[in-house]
């Protein structure tokens, strides 16, 4: 699980799996999830979602805020838990949607009920859900 924690939070790997700029493994750091790869290569944060590291608690809790500038901050909470020898379960919860007008959250509610789980794989199982 320590290896997964490292992959989840190290400054070398986070830019690779999150697609972000400016990440440092430190509470209070702001980083930018820039989905446009050309802009990312140039270090351009325009159009990126802003994130702030809120919690780094080894071996398994990594939380950061997630927001489009000018809109309420939501919270992404990633938890690692041991799930048998060599297995780690990764859970991602994205919450804070109740701060938005109810009409905007409505479309997400169908997703909330069904949740989401990826396929079960030998080395790493993942599950994600959107929460209010």
């Amino acid at each position: 699980m320590d290896h997964v924690w490292e992959t989840l939070t190290s400054e070398m790997t986070v830019p690779q799996w999150l697609g972000c700029l400016g990440y440092r493994r430190e509470v209070g750091v702001t980083f930018y999830m820039q989905q446009d790869s050309a802009k990312r290569e140039q270090g351009d944060t325009t159009g990126a979602t802003h994130c702030e590291v809120v919690l780094l608690e080894p071996p398994g809790r990594f939380h950061f805020t997630w927001f489009v500038p000018g809109t309420p901050e939501t919270m992404v909470e990633i938890t690692l838990s041991p799930a048998g020898p060599g297995d780690t379960e990764v859970t991602l919860r994205h919450r804070g949607w109740d701060q938005f007008p109810a009409d905007m959250v409505k479309p997400f509610h169908d997703q909330l009920k069904s949740g989401w789980t990826s396929g079960v794989l030998p080395a790493l199982r993942t599950a994600a859900e959107l929460g209010s």
């Binding site: 999150l18 060599g86 007008p101 989401w116 790493l124």
Partner: protein
């Protein structure tokens, strides 16, 4: 593609209410304006934000503009987040597996 423009467009009570009204049926601008206590120019500004975000469209019907909701755009937005995190977690998984230290039994000689 992050739908941050659509996101910002919808994170506003008036604009969400406008979307709600248009969800029921297309409506002319005077009808939309009548539904809110704010000024007509303010309503027009909100409508322009929604139009620029690709969420509504307008058509001239006789002498006035009629607005309608682009439902497909809203549906795409609602599934975007789920796919977004699904994609990220998949990359995390691939990265962790690609760099995983060898199992202990493989190291014992």
């Amino acid at each position: 593609m992050t739908p941050s423009v659509q996101f910002a467009a919808l994170a506003d009570d008036t604009r969400c209410a406008l979307v709600d009204l248009l969800r029921e049926r297309p409506r002319p601008v005077h009808e939309l304006a009548a539904a809110f206590p704010i000024s007509r120019p303010a309503i027009s500004r909100h409508l322009r934000v929604l139009k620029d975000a690709g969420l509504i469209e307008e058509e001239r019907d006789g002498r006035e503009n009629v607005y309608s909701l682009k439902r497909q755009r809203l549906r795409v937005l609602s599934t975007w987040l789920e796919q977004h995190w699904s994609n990220k977690l998949g990359r995390l998984k691939d990265l962790a597996e690609a760099t995983a230290p060898k199992a202990q039994s493989e190291l014992d000689l």
